[in-house]
């Protein structure tokens, strides 16, 4: 059987993590091609609906990447994201859904390596978890 290849949707803030992902590119740091990046201006704009929508559409994991605390281009957007994602994870947990499919990470514009490593690590962990169970529900 073909090995399970997880699909990750990443919501990255324009100023830090998206730029960090670009830096991974200019530094030619290789990481698995399982990730699809959606550029947003700020993690503060990550509506929880986006995360749920990505999971419902079949993503096996969602990565939200923003500026380190204190570095937000819009002052406090990353704190807002942190609060929202924390609540979302708690709710999903209540429904028996594995909250570790959602990762919130602070990756700065200069941390191309961290972005590549984070992606690689997330792919590995999702491989262990297996496919997103919501996908199977859709198949019924």
């Amino acid at each position: 059987m073909q090995e399970f290849e997880p699909r990750i949707v990443a919501f990255l803030c324009n100023w830090c993590t998206y730029t960090g992902a670009d830096l991974a590119g200019t530094s030619r740091l290789q990481y698995p091609p399982n990730i699809r990046i959606v550029r947003l201006m700020c993690t503060g704009a990550v509506d929880t609906i986006y995360v749920l929508k990505a999971l419902i559409e079949g993503a096996d994991g969602v990565l939200i990447g923003g500026c380190h605390p204190g570095d937000c281009h819009y002052q406090t957007g990353n704190y807002k994201a942190r609060r929202r994602i924390t609540i979302l994870k708690k709710i999903l947990n209540r429904f028996g859904y594995d909250e570790d499919r959602i990762w919130l990470r602070w990756i700065s514009a200069s941390e191309g390596k961290l972005f590549a490593d984070t992606t690689a690590q997330m792919v590995e962990e999702l491989k262990d978890k297996g496919p997103n169970p919501i996908k199977q529900l859709w198949m019924v």
Partner: protein, 999 residues
Amino acid sequence: MHKKAMVIGGGIAGIQAALDLGEMGVETYLVEKGPSVGGRMAQLDKTFPTNDCAMCILSPKLVEVGSHPYVTIVSNAEVLSLEGSPCNFRVKVLKKPRYVDEDKCTGCGICMSKCPIKIPDPYNKGLSQTKCIRIPFPQAVPAIPIMDKETCRYHLTGKCRVCEKFCEVKAIDFEQKEQVLELEVGSVILACGSQEFNASLKNEYGYKLFPNVVTSIEFERILSASGPTSGHVVRPSDGKEPKRIAILQCVGSRETQAGNEHCSAICCMQAAKDAIITQEHLPEVQTAIFYMDVRAYGKGFDRFVDMAKEQHKTRFICGRIASVESNPHTDTLLIQYITQEGIINREEFDLLVLSVGLEPSESSMDAARRLVVFMDTRGFLETNTFRPVNTTRPGVFSCGSISGPKDIPESVMEASGAASAAAALLGELQSKEIRFEYPQELDIRGIPPRVGVFICRCGINIASTVDVPQVVEYVSRLPGVKHAQELLFACAQDSQKIIKAAIEEKGLNRIVVSACTPRTHEPMFQKTLKESGVNPYLFEFANIREQCSWVHQKEPEKATEKAKDLTRNSIVKVVFAEPLYKETLDVKKEALIIGGGLAGMTAALDLAEQNFQVHLVEKEKELGGNLRHVHTTLKGEESAPILKALDEEVNKNPRIKLYMNARIREISGYIGNFKTVLDPPLSEIEHGVVIIASGGEEYQPKEYLYGEDDRVVTQRELEDMLNGSDKSKLSSLATVVMIQCVGSRDDERTYCSRVCCSNAIKNAIKLKELNPRPAVYVLFRDIRTYGLKESFYRSAREKGIIFIRYDKEEKPDVHKNSNGLAVDVRDKILNKTLAINPDLLVLSAGIIPNPENKLLSQFLKVPLDPDGFFLEAHVKLRPVDFATDGVFVCGLAHYPKDIGETIAQARAAAGRAATVLSKDTIEAEGKVSYIREERCNGCGACVEVCVYNAIELDTEKRIATINEALCKGCGACAATCLASAIDLKGFRNEQILEALEAI
């Protein structure tokens, strides 16, 4: 008075100067001797220390300068004479024939494909062939071919005219003649650059004798995807991949026999870069760099060299190559070299790269003679340390390597500085609105989406990993897509023409480009859309290079699938996009400058001269900053009179308001409209731009008995003694030791402080001049007297100053014994430990960032680098800007630098600030939030969440309203609103959610 300017030389410096002048509203002629602007940067593969692709960052500038309404490019031309006086110059320009009518030619390139004559390609340094009639390189501006008369068959034999036959617009003109243009301008900037040293003059290295000996610029072409081998690193003799590469530094530099005395300033970093890039191409390759000193003196340079050493297995060998032999059967090179320990080694290499230096070019010296400006004995333009962008002729300024070898950011800084000076000379510019003529925008209401998709190959940057034709095939079948095609370089000017033609022919109303990162290239494509009458927000960018081809090089199939997904995602997003319009904002024509040192004062005076009000804030009670401790420059110019004059000028200038002993309490606002609270006087000032000139400090050593023994001082203290009353004490000295890199280049601070080597040499020479008797030892790791400073290192050695190299692992040992101070240092050449008993130990303490930088960076939301200096928007091409508009940086706040460099950067910051202040209005961000009133229930959650106070609750209507001028477009309110009443334009929920379905 002519409110026009001329820039001579179309390399990166000239381009930047012309663009800055154009943005300030000055009509500018850019005169270039070759057929295209771009200069040497267009031939580089990558740029250090970020390994950005040179063409990728240059080509947007080429497109911008080629289409700027205020810049006229006069290519294939040279200046004959300059008459008149500042503000009233008359210039004669000789325009040489191209044999192609520039007005008729469309740049289609059919002539080039049909021409039967092949000639060595100058762009590829003769390593490949091109045609007699040719467009110099794919991104050339103007993208018009030039015919080489010397090799043209028609010109030689009177028969052929093939190009003429195929040219549909009848642009070929065999009879074209030279033309002399007479132009009137107010100021002139010389930016003619330099040339590479001719390596044939050093015949001991076998250049042109052995096939596998190449110069660094030839190797740059070999590495480049657009080069003769399409980026496959092979050696010239047999086309095989080299396994062992030697790079020899200082070919034609730092020596006087056949070459030049000066250091070429860029080659060390270029060699490190080439080693890294080569190893990325060929993971098994082993590279050895033979050097005299590793001159990694710039921002991030030392880290870059460490990366080459540690991650890319590059050997740095301190030593010279004595002889090169080539095996006539295999063309492999046998290289004999001598290490610094005096050991003679012989080693085989497959390829030898000669790092050829830079020297004044014939054409730049010609230009200098014709303009009657003075050159130094070497042929570089003569400049004064305190007037780095001025030439000896008033009204004529200079930038770039015409006044000494320098790297790209230095050249760009000088360019902006020269532009500022040239504009200041022209006085107050009629702050005319820079109006670009765009066609009427298409009304797309009721018209179904017609999407055009353009997939960039980026040479081989994308195409070597991603199967581009397959992606084109795939997307052309997606709903809404009416046109899909690939482009070799989507950013090239001819590609813009292709996009425009497709928009017109197929009636496209939305465009997707799959290429590199939107962060650098989006504005360029948006401009193309505007020029075609399409709203620039009906555009989406898919990043299939930085975030796909470059990071999945070993998985081409999966990368191709990912490229399809990313492109499809962008297509969906653009289908749901709406046209957006920008609000215009008024610009408060005043500047805030933080820091009253040399940089801050220089910038303040430049802006005041252009009639802008300046608020200069200094935390100390007097102006001058670190300049108060610098008594003379390396060249021997006194700084005290300059400081006094600056101080007086700043104090008496009516347009400069000084705030002494003052600090910043708070900064809010945005480009054009900042508000800052100062303390004292605890009042608010309004301004349109901010220049950070917060300076740096001397490191206070904790090592080498500093502070414990009076005989241990820093260079700054020695300089005070040399220029003060303590002189007599110094004349009785018998032995002086100087230790370099104190607090620099160690584990805590990995960077080089750049100025300490020159400072030590300056003070050592001064000591010797005061009294030739004492022995002066300088203990160093690498002597970094880059560029023209090298001659002072030479003269120091001639004066008998002894230089001893030490390693980071084996630092000198300083202790006290019965003889007084004792310094033990390991001399590698003698292979012995030397014991020296100095009467005076001088520590070359490094420069550390201002500790208040952290706070300022938070106030202004601009980043710091890992060392604590401010991090500019782009280390190569935007050296004084930030990603945040309206904020600029100069001086030690940016990185350690000397007086001349500080002044050049300060003038650059002033020039960049003037490009904002010279406009009456600027356009606000188009991607702002908006409220759907019918959905809003007036809960006020968005008001709470907005940190910019851009949302208010309309108490009458009970709904929220957004002030678009204040909105920054972060989207926090949209994510907060439970009623889905707020959306961020350009990132509407509908767009994102639909796009997620497509992922």
